[in-house]
Symmetry: C2
Subunit: 217 residues, 2 copies
Amino acid sequence: MIEKSTKKRILDAAEKLFALHGFDGTSLRAITTEAKVNLASVNYHFQTKEALVDAVMARRLEVVNRRRLEMLAEAEHAAGANPPRLERTLEAFYRPALELLRSPEAKYFPMLMGRLITETALFQRLFESHLVEVERRFRAAIRRALPDLPPPDLAWRMLFTIGILTQSLAAQPVLQAVLRKASSPCDVDGTVARMVAFASAGLRAPVHKEVGKCAQG
Amino acid sequence: MIEKSTKKRILDAAEKLFALHGFDGTSLRAITTEAKVNLASVNYHFQTKEALVDAVMARRLEVVNRRRLEMLAEAEHAAGANPPRLERTLEAFYRPALELLRSPEAKYFPMLMGRLITETALFQRLFESHLVEVERRFRAAIRRALPDLPPPDLAWRMLFTIGILTQSLAAQPVLQAVLRKASSPCDVDGTVARMVAFASAGLRAPVHKEVGKCAQG
DNA sequence: GTACACTTAAAACGATCGTATGATTGAAAA
DNA sequence: TTTTCAATCATACGATCGTTTTAAGTGTAC
């Protein structure tokens, strides 16, 4: 087989090590050792570590989010004038991320996605370039399916819906002891089905009236 | 007012900076500068950075988890021979963590809890000492409330239930733009009510039969 | 064969990291 | 007053960090 280019070797090694040990916890030397390339080649191909981080994230986020929008568009087309079914909308959001677990090539990336929410600066950079449209389109689709849900509750429930995915991705190395062989992480279809079942029920839950006041803001 | 001890000053500064920038992203020098104490006092009071991290987490996790078990015990007592209501069980899990947001003293800790899941080594250390009993007791309570839920689904749904909290805590600095003023983070009662409504509906969702096979294990 | 652009290599830069050392402080114990 | 000891101080150690420099290869066009 054709040997991988230096650039791709760096991206793959960085993706793996970033996922396992975090961005700050992974040195460029660890990456170049794993990738079996020279240290300076990182700066040659990516200039800085921050740019390498962005490149690692962008490479897969592009694919995942394009697929998400595709599947959402298919769901909307299939529904015609009606709003797409909530379950199908949720699957369009969850599945493209989880499908990566099947690929030996990209299997570390989901764990990395699970880290994204805690990396404030990186998240804000990526949100504008890769997530803002996804958020907008899915919000609109869920809104159409649940027209009676007040916007604040919609916002909170979308956050919870994302949290279901994030937690499952981030927890993979650590919660397998808790999930005592409950279900294998590579059972993508089962995981998607479980997430969709949980999230759709949560999104459809009756809205509690009493919302407390906030003293500070 | 009485000035805080050096040890407490270090813990408070570390809690804040760890929450904002992560463990690897925060140097001991940044902590001692923020705390206005000498660099060497960290090693005098805590020996190593890792021990400081453990101390920062243990200080609040002890309180939060004690309160969780207290509230769960109250719920079980109130229910008598019956299983405690799912809503009350969930509130016992969520509320003690969110109440910290009210306290100026501890307001950074929830964000730090949101980081816990991505710190594999730290999580495993803390799980055995602070979380294993909480997990066991809450699992049992939810199991009693939902006796027909197969154990694998219970495990997954508990993971999702935790994810709702984790995401909300970790996302605070970053998702406020997304949650465009939907609800203020210091509205603890409202947030708890929204989490409980979502999670209880998700936990009670009908179980989808078809669970895919896993090719790899 | 020479010129040229692209890529990789070895080595080192200054900065910053966690940690350790030994002196100094200050108040209680004797 | 003298002794004692926990606490704090300034300082420095060796290691490792991201980044840079300079040179050596590589293939292609002329």
